[in-house]
């Protein structure tokens, strides 16, 4: 339905989009997610035909947006980011004007306007001037204009930008309804919005697609480590080293970090830890507990930090924005390393972690 194929776009020396590719299937509701300046709006503008790509191609319902722009535009409804409208026009006048721009004859235009007005909950303001409407209503007018010619594809750029919470809720409800019977691509930098509205998420950063898939799949594929927050009773000499060694040797454990400060010469009664697992690891809580028991350590807290799409998103953005760094020369502060671990400041699991999954001593069910 929408094909974006290796699209590039630069503004002077700034490369805004660097080879973005994806395809939207009919009926799919996809979210283009990324931080500000990621290239979302430029990508959307190229799909809508407002900008021409420097390289690559965009095809909407079989029409190339460069070679057959008119055909593509008839099949596409577009709501630009700031919902630009003519404030001096009345709602129905504006919709009538949009219908005429799309070449809709009067007998088609009138029922289409009625449908759009009712679908976007604009009945109460239909005779009012757009300039006097609230931002939420203006957003709905923009959406009504976008779907007036019944396009197969609807593209919404930041549809809830600048709205208050009530308006955001109403707009999301409307987007959900509109997405029920058409292909939709919406861009946002608000993760919860994309998560709630879309069945597919395309994460864009620095002009490239960093991840693409269903929200649950992204969490699975890019969730990498789960984190376990542990509070253990300390106070005995050598406890910390022993705990680190035991937990680090568990399969799938990637990193063990003590989070509360280790004041020199002071005995800390309760110590806090974060144990991170590798991607695809099973739930490690019982094994962490068993290892602590093996050391004779009392645990007061052991909980998993739920991996959300937000964490996946932040990690992807962080990875995209951070160039590869050389390993630090000194161990990181507050990170304990077992005697066998490399001095990278990060505790890596021992040889057991390299083996395939196997029952863990003391943790077998």
């Amino acid at each position: 339905m929408v094909l974006v194929d290796s699209v590039h776009k630069s503004f002077g020396a700034v490369a805004a989009v660097r080879g973005i590719s994806f395809e939207l299937k009919p009926g799919q509701v996809a979210g283009l997610l990324g931080p500000n300046g990621a290239g979302k709006t430029t990508t959307i503008r190229m799909i809508a035909g407002y900008l021409l790509p420097d390289a690559g191609r965009v095809v909407v319902s079989g029409y190339d947006t460069v070679a057959q722009p008119v055909g593509a535009r008839y099949r596409l409804g577009y709501l630009p980011e700031s919902t630009p409208l003519y404030g001096e026009m009345k709602v129905t006048e504006y919709l009538d004007y949009r219908g005429r721009l799309f070449g809709m004859p009067r007998h088609v235009r009138k029922p289409a306007i009625e449908f759009a007005v009712s679908r976007c909950w604009l009945k109460e303001v239909r005779a009012r001037k757009i300039g006097t409407l609230s931002k939420g209503f203006k957003q709905r007018v923009g959406m009504a204009a976008a779907l007036l010619h019944n396009p197969a594809v609807l593209i919404l750029d930041e549809p809830t930008n600048g709205l208050d919470p009530t308006q955001i809720r109403e707009t999301r409800q409307l987007v959900r309804e509109l997405g029920a019977d058409r292909t939709m691509l919406l861009s946002s930098h608000i993760l919860s919005e994309v998560e709630k509205l879309c069945d597919r998420v395309i994460v864009v950063c620095a002009g490239k697609v960093r991840a693409d898939g269903a929200p649950a799949q992204l969490v699975r594929d890019h969730g990498n480590s789960a984190k376990y927050m542990v509070q253990a009773k300390g106070g005995r000499p050598g406890d910390d080293d022993r705990l680190v060694r035991l937990w680090s040797n568990l399969p799938y454990v990637q990193e063990v970090v003590r989070t509360n400060p280790d004041k020199r010469g002071e005995v800390t009664e309760w110590t806090n830890w974060v144990v991170s697992s590798k991607a695809g690891a099973p739930d490690l809580r019982e094994f962490i507990a068993a290892a602590a028991m093996q050391n004779g350590t009392v645990l007061r807290e052991l909980r998993t930090e739920v991996i959300t799409l937000e964490r996946v998103f932040l990690r992807l953005i962080e990875e995209a924005e951070t160039p590869a760094k050389p390993a630090p020369a000194e161990p990181l502060k507050d990170t304990l390393t077992p005697s066998v671990a490399p001095p990278t400041g990060t505790v890596t699991p021992g040889p057991a972690a390299a083996k395939p999954a196997e029952p863990i001593a003391g943790g077998a069910r």
């Binding site: 809508a48 035909g49 407002y50 900008l51 021409l52 630009p84 004007y97 721009l101 070449g103």
Partner: protein, 242 residues
Amino acid sequence: MSRFRGVGTIAERELSSYFRQPAGWLIIAFYLFLIGIIFSMFVLQPGQPASMRSFFAFSGWLLLPVAPAISMRLIAEELRSGTIESLLTSPIGGAALVVGKFLGACGFLAAMLAPTMLYIVLLDRVSSPRPDMGPLVSGYVCLLLLGVLYLAIGVLASSLTSNSTLAFLMTLFTILALLFVNNAAQFVPDFLKPVVFSLSLVNRVGDFAKGIIDTAHLFFFLSTSAWFLFLAVSAVELRRTR
């Protein structure tokens, strides 16, 4: 002609938008007020010949600020508010947008000049001998052609910037340059002098004032306007590739 599909829709909206905003009414009021004073002071005087020559001369000069004021927002405002994005993602092309906007502005200019036709009726009633219709017709043709050219320049200026004030100034200075280009003739080589003189608006307007409608002048005004519109279409389309 698919390039011009939607021209009528754009022109109609543009024309109506002038009358939806105070600025449109103010421009008409400003023009009619000043031109009314000119008419009563210089044309409607006892013992004067039944001619509207002074009326047309002052009207021509009044177009100097009025035409840029009409055209300055045409595309600049669409660029500033972002509505250009909705327009250029609809099935109409840049050519339809520019020509539609231009025709809407021309419609407004015609609406502004239309009430002055009453002056002809008035002059016809009170003068003896009755006024010669030839110079009157050529005077209106000249005013319209000047207005069309000024508006075309204004459309181009408006397509180059999102700042209406800047568009106004660009239009004004370009018009002034075309009006006084013959003064620059002394500074150019001899072989360029005919070109400079041919660009001068003052020489052409003089012929119209005498009641002469020369097809060469008609062609000049219309083709120059078309050239400015072509540049404006290119400026709009170039925005897609910037």
